[in-house]
Amino acid sequence: MKPTRILTVDDSASMRALLLHALTTQGFEVEQAEDGQQAFEWLATNEVDVVITDINMPRLDGFGLIEQLRDTARHADRPILVLTTESSDEKKRRARDAGATGWIVKPFDAEKLATAVRRVAH
């Protein structure tokens, strides 16, 4: 079976490194983007199985990225997880309203990431 491909979107280099490490050790294939705009442009011509995105980012934030992706035919049904520091119901509702498939509450461990990804990877 082909490994699940994931795009992580985070403007923090250390967070990217952590995600890369955690996800690759769980056997996922990882691509990385530094903000929503870069991710959106990359996704215009590339495919991944799951997108994991931070919310607070320059240029295009996580919610904006999701909304734009949901408007494209290619990514309308793409599983997208948001990384959030808060797990309040209000935050979850916002993520869901923005079109997120699910969320991962920071800080995360490799196990938690893998569970969240498997829960949405088609």
Binding site: A13, M15, L18, D61, T101, W103, K112, R119, H122
Partner: protein, 723 residues
């Protein structure tokens, strides 16, 4: 990559964040307090907090948490940016820098009690008029939550640093096994995904599989409301499952699976799961996202009154309304494009046949006309497969206007017409960016402030009109505002200041002045927004439209408003063109550029220098560009005089250089042609937009008019045009 490397990245990043925050605060102090500046400061501190949490720097995490809380208030606008506040934030930033230094050097954390208390106080004063003093100080819970987060991270960090993560992963499993021995009671779980449960990439099947992995056994599948197959919409939830979960599985663990799930999936536990509310077919009818009356917690904003009010009669009605939905099938876009490509070839083959027959003197007979009609028909229908209503783009505008209303304070009414007009899917997808920019521009610069509008007797609320229609084989989209119109004096002054226009030139027409806003380098202050990020200039908008094979024009009436008119092709694959003869070559000039064609009298041609000829068209002088240069090389240029006598001039409109006259030997035909990219078959060539196959089977190059005229004119007037 190991833990140490990642930490090094983190410290580099801290340095960048600290600088960004400082730059932002300096800007605030200097008076720039827009949302982007505040956001940048927030992000900087937020990013340090994220890393601090991840690496287990408790004191830093706790401090940034307090700092971020206050910045969050500033961002929300609940705390006002005053000079005192900025001073305090700068102090807090200094302390943050000390924190980062201490972590990096392994030194004890700096004394942050005083500043932390001030930050917490400012944060707590928000929304709490009085009584704030009685509350516990913020640092305590922050520290507690930070340390709780640490446990989670230990596994990841251990893993990074090479120790064995296995015990962490296995521990819960052992506990589970023990519990199973103790109590043997199984419990029931009811899962009922409803309409919308598969939206946004959710897949209920995965949840069910996870239940099975946990040891759950499906004891019942309720298919009572499953409709006939021709009424079935796969996105609706028709099935409900009852699972028997082993006693060892805690309810929380199951609830975790459904954490992502909103109101679109009903999940019941224990006793409730054994007696789920009755389901009626009405609740899966396409329009009804509404939960049934029996569902306790769920209320939905999307509830449609009519469906909620009348759930009972729905079952009898279902067969009729849902029947049309089953009349569609999903086709892979790639297959569709292959078909459309094939139809393109068919168009060419038909044209070749017509040409051959015409050469044999058999041009006019009924079967050929019939074939031509059929081919055109098939072509149009194939194109329609890719067509989508423009409403998918227009529907995003209200949200954009709301956002603009908050940033600019201008409330704008939206009037939309022709949203059912259909366009090629690719055109639709690539239209959204220029359209967004034009609307932003209309609200920002076009529509006046409410006060100014009232002063001139207008409705304080501006109106934005969006319309789309199909006209003469093209789609015309109009973005109109009822603002003040383009201030031509200001535009001209700015264009002169930017060196776009020679100050000596005084006879620019209104239209030419309006078009200056499309000149590269005209847009100044980068407009910042949360939607499209840093703004782009209008030249990029024009470029985007041009890449779609379209044109953009401006109609501005002083005091009454401005209309931007986009004329776009119906499809990107087929276009109308004029076939011209140049030497022994046939070339195609896209019809969108052609204004007129004429055989000039000798007196209408004026020489300028050695090689330049200008054509006088009703008093306006246009540069003559011999197309022979594209096909023949420099030798042709010297023969310009002899070519002129026998040639025809095609006046074309270009994006950057106004009008020009292309000199060709003869005009042969005007017809539709299928565009084949040179890039994919050969390589990109300057001045050539692509190639096509003519009716006689020969390949003809499609002229890139904009590029060609730009190249020719800039080569001649190099010093003047360089500006």
């Amino acid at each position: 990559m190991n833990g140490i490397d990642i930490q090094a990245i983190f410290f580099d990043e801290c340095e960048e964040s600290l600088q960004a925050a400082e730059a932002g605060l300096d800007a605030c102090k200097a008076g720039t307090q827009d949302s982007e500046t505040i956001n940048a400061i927030f992000r900087a501190v937020h990013s340090i907090k994220g890393g601090a949490g991840a690496f287990g720097y408790e004191a830093l995490a706790s401090y940034t948490h307090v700092f971020e809380n206050l910045l969050g208030d500033v961002r929300e606008g609940t705390v006002l940016v005053t000079s005192d506040l900025v001073d305090m934030l700068l102090l807090a930033l200094d302390c943050l820098r000390d924190h980062v230094e201490s972590v990096r050097g392994g030194a004890p954390a700096p004394d942050d009690e005083a500043i932390k208390a001030r930050l917490a106080e400012a944060h707590e004063n928000v929304g709490k008029d009085g009584g704030a003093a009685a509350e516990a100080p913020a640092p305590e819970p922050a520290a507690a939550s930070a340390s709780a987060e640490m446990d989670d991270l230990d596994a990841l960090l251990d893993d990074l640093l090479g120790s064995d993560p296995a015990p962490v992963a296995e521990a819960p499993a052992e506990e589970v096994a023990e519990e199973e021995d103790e109590k043997g009671e199984e419990w029931a779980l009811y899962v009922c995904p409803q309409a919308g449960a598969m939206d946004n990439g959710s897949e209920p099947l995965l949840w069910l599989r996870e239940l099975v992995e946990l040891g759950g056994i499906c004891v019942k599948c309720d298919e009572s409301i499953l409709p006939q197959i021709d009424e079935m919409d796969p996105k609706q939830g028709y099935l409900a499952w009852t699972f028997s979960m082993p006693a060892s599985v805690e309810r929380d663990k199951v609830a975790d699976i459904f954490d992502f799930v909103g109101e679109q999936c009903r999940v019941l536990y224990g006793e409730e799961a054994l007696n789920p509310p009755a389901r009626a077919r009405a609740e899966v009818a396409p329009a009804a996202k509404a939960p049934p009356v029996a569902a306790p917690a769920a209320t939905s904003a999307t509830t449609k009154p009519e469906t909620a009010a009348a759930p009972a009669p729905a079952p009898t009605q279902t067969p009729t309304p849902s029947a049309p939905a089953s009349q569609s099938i999903r086709i892979d876009l790639g297959k569709l494009d292959q078909l459309i490509d094939g139809v393109g070839e068919l168009v060419i083959a038909q044209a070749m046949l017509a040409q051959r027959l015409s050469n044999e003197g058999l041009a006019h007979f009924e079967e050929l006309a019939m074939l031509e009609g059929l081919v055109r028909d098939i072509q149009e229908r194939a194109m329609a497969f890719r067509a989508q209503p423009i409403s998918s783009v227009f529907s995003r505008v209200p949200r954009l206007l709301r956002e603009l209303a908050t940033t600019t304070g201008k409330h704008v009414k939206l009037v939309v017409a022709g949203e059912t007009t259909e366009l090629d899917k690719t055109v639709i997808e690539r239209l959204s960016e220029p359209l967004t920019h034009l609307i932003r521009n209309a609200v920002d610069h076009g529509i006046e402030s409410p006060e100014d509008r009232q002063a001139v007797g207008k409705d304080p609320e501006g109106t934005l009109t969006l319309s789309a229609e199909q006209k003469a084989g093209r789609i015309v989209i109009r973005i109109g505002d009822d603002g003040g119109g383009i201030n031509r004096e200001k535009v001209l002054a700015k264009a002169i200041e930017k060196g776009i226009v020679d100050p000596e030139v005084h006879n620019l027409s209104d239209e030419e002045i309006d078009n200056l806003i499309f000149a590269p380098g005209f847009s100044t202050a980068a407009q910042v927004s949360s939607i499209s990020g840093r703004g782009v200039g209008m030249d990029v908008v024009r470029q985007n439209v041009k890449e779609l094979g379209g044109r953009i024009t401006i109609e501005s009436r002083p005091g009454q408003g401005t209309d931007f008119v986009l004329a776009l092709p119906l499809t990107l694959a087929i276009s109308d063109g004029m076939i011209v003869q140049v030497g022994d070559q046939s070339l195609v000039v896209p019809l969108t550029h052609v204004v007129e064609s004429l055989s000039p009298a000798e007196t209408e041609i004026k020489g300028m220098g050695r090689n330049i000829r200008m054509l006088n068209v009703r008093g306006q002088f246009l540069p003559i560009v011999p197309l022979r240069q594209l096909t023949g090389g420099p030798r042709a240029e010297t023969n310009i005089e002899t070519n002129m006598e026998n040639g025809v001039l095609v006046v074309v409109e270009t994006e950057r250089c106004g009008q020009a006259a292309l000199l060709v030997d003869a005009i042969i035909d005007q017809r539709q042609f299928v565009i084949k990219s040179l890039d994919t078959h050969y390589r990109s060539v300057d001045g050539v937009a692509g190639a096509t196959i003519l009716g006689n089977g020969r390949v003809a190059l499609i002229v890139d008019v904009d590029r060609l005229v730009l190249d020719m004119t800039s080569r001649r007037h190099a010093p003047a045009e360089a500006a």
